[in-house]
Subunit: 237 residues, 2 copies
């Protein structure tokens, strides 16, 4: 039976910080844990969005690529979709979106996902440029990102919310990816404005945090030398 | 099939800090996730040690109580035992024990458990005194603990190691509970000296973090008012 109460996470955001960017899970393995998700490829190869079982990568050239099962990822989230409608938003920026997802509370103590489906009057995304071995750090890689913008786009915003306590393992607060219906734009969201969208929410009671224990570089890395992981992640994400 | 690669955790250490001490999982539910584990009862009611499927509570009066299925816990770890022998220790304090568990590396980036079975020349444990509603904070409760000491005791030390990144959700580093073979002493370990013990290790690639989402107090609590959770946990644990 597919567990719809579980958010699966492979890797941590912390391991991206020093550039532990080896792909340590295949897309096939990831999708055993969900039909919906986000992530990035080996070497921070673009931005992955999985919706309704279809895994797309938005690369730094602005292309949308349907991914094959053997694509590997250093970091990803996935879950089995069982969203509930929570209404709709008209003329909303990221602040209004955040408040709606949180039922106007300041924060949440558990993980949840939000889908916003509709028309976006503005969307700004980024896709990182794939780094080759030896991999760059997250801060260096984030400087080499491509930025994309569009107006009046139909599409889906897929967001995961993580409690503050798990910052470092995940990004505290919302982590938003986008996919346009016509695949003309997508990736990691930097800014957006909703014209009109239906909102759907799915609350998780469990984080299944999987770590790449077979990756020697990860297992032997000394994270103490990477400085304040939380701060680096907040800046890069 | 029992997953021996998974460490299950119900609740977080962070939720104990402000005194969210309601029992939010039954022992029966917990033991669906393992035959081995540690935890505490509602209101920080003693220290729980589960070994080979037998759940014991060491209470603040120094009694060892075999627990019933309906006993509830605000925080617990559990896993299915599949330990591998990693040798033995003779005349070892906590520093030597820590190094042996880590293969003499400074730290680990994944979760693991250690069992030390043998004779302890010294053992010092604590069991907290059950707090009634409205529950005390962790710092206040930790001041009302009972301390127990013994020399030349046969028993088992059950330890869980959590990576630094997960401090707050868990206790970073080792979290050690003890159970004497004759049940004469047990609980949360404050200090110990191994005379001679066999060591066993089990490495996990997954943390299954379960949160008490049906508990309104937890879900509505503002953890921002609790100060530096990591610091409070380090002091109390």
């Amino acid at each position: 039976m597919k567990k719809t109460n579980v958010l699966y996470q492979h890797g941590t955001l912390a391991l991206l910080v020093p550039g532990l960017l080896a792909g340590t899970i295949t897309l096939k393995e990831l999708m055993e844990h969900g039909d919906t998700g986000i992530g990035t490829g080996e070497g921070l190869n673009g931005e992955v969005v999985i919706i309704e079982g279809k895994p797309y990568q938005f690369d730094s050239f602005g292309h949308a690529n349907l991914l094959k099962e053997d694509f590997t990822l250093p970091f990803a989230n996935a879950h089995f979709s069982a969203y509930q409608s929570i209404g709709q938003l008209t003329g909303a920026d990221s602040t209004k979106f955040a408040a709606a997802g949180l039922n106007n509370r300041p924060n949440s103590n558990t993980f949840f996902s939000i889908l916003a489906k509709g028309t976006f009057s503005y969307i700004k995304t980024r896709a990182v440029v794939k780094s080759e071995r030896p991999f760059d750090t997250l801060a260096a890689t984030a400087k080499k990102q491509s930025i994309f913008e569009a107006h009046d786009v139909q599409g889906t915003l897929l967001s995961y919310y993580s409690p503050e306590l798990f910052h470092g393992a995940a990004v505290a607060g919302y982590h938003n990816h986008f996919i346009a219906d016509d695949l003309s734009i997508g990736g990691h969201i930097l800014d957006f404005q909703i014209k009109q969208a239906k909102l759907f929410k799915q609350v998780f009671d469990t984080l299944e945090q999987h770590l790449p224990v077979d990756n020697q570089e990860f297992m032997e890395h000394d994270f103490d030398v990477d400085g304040d992981l939380g701060e680096v992640i907040s800046k890069a994400e």
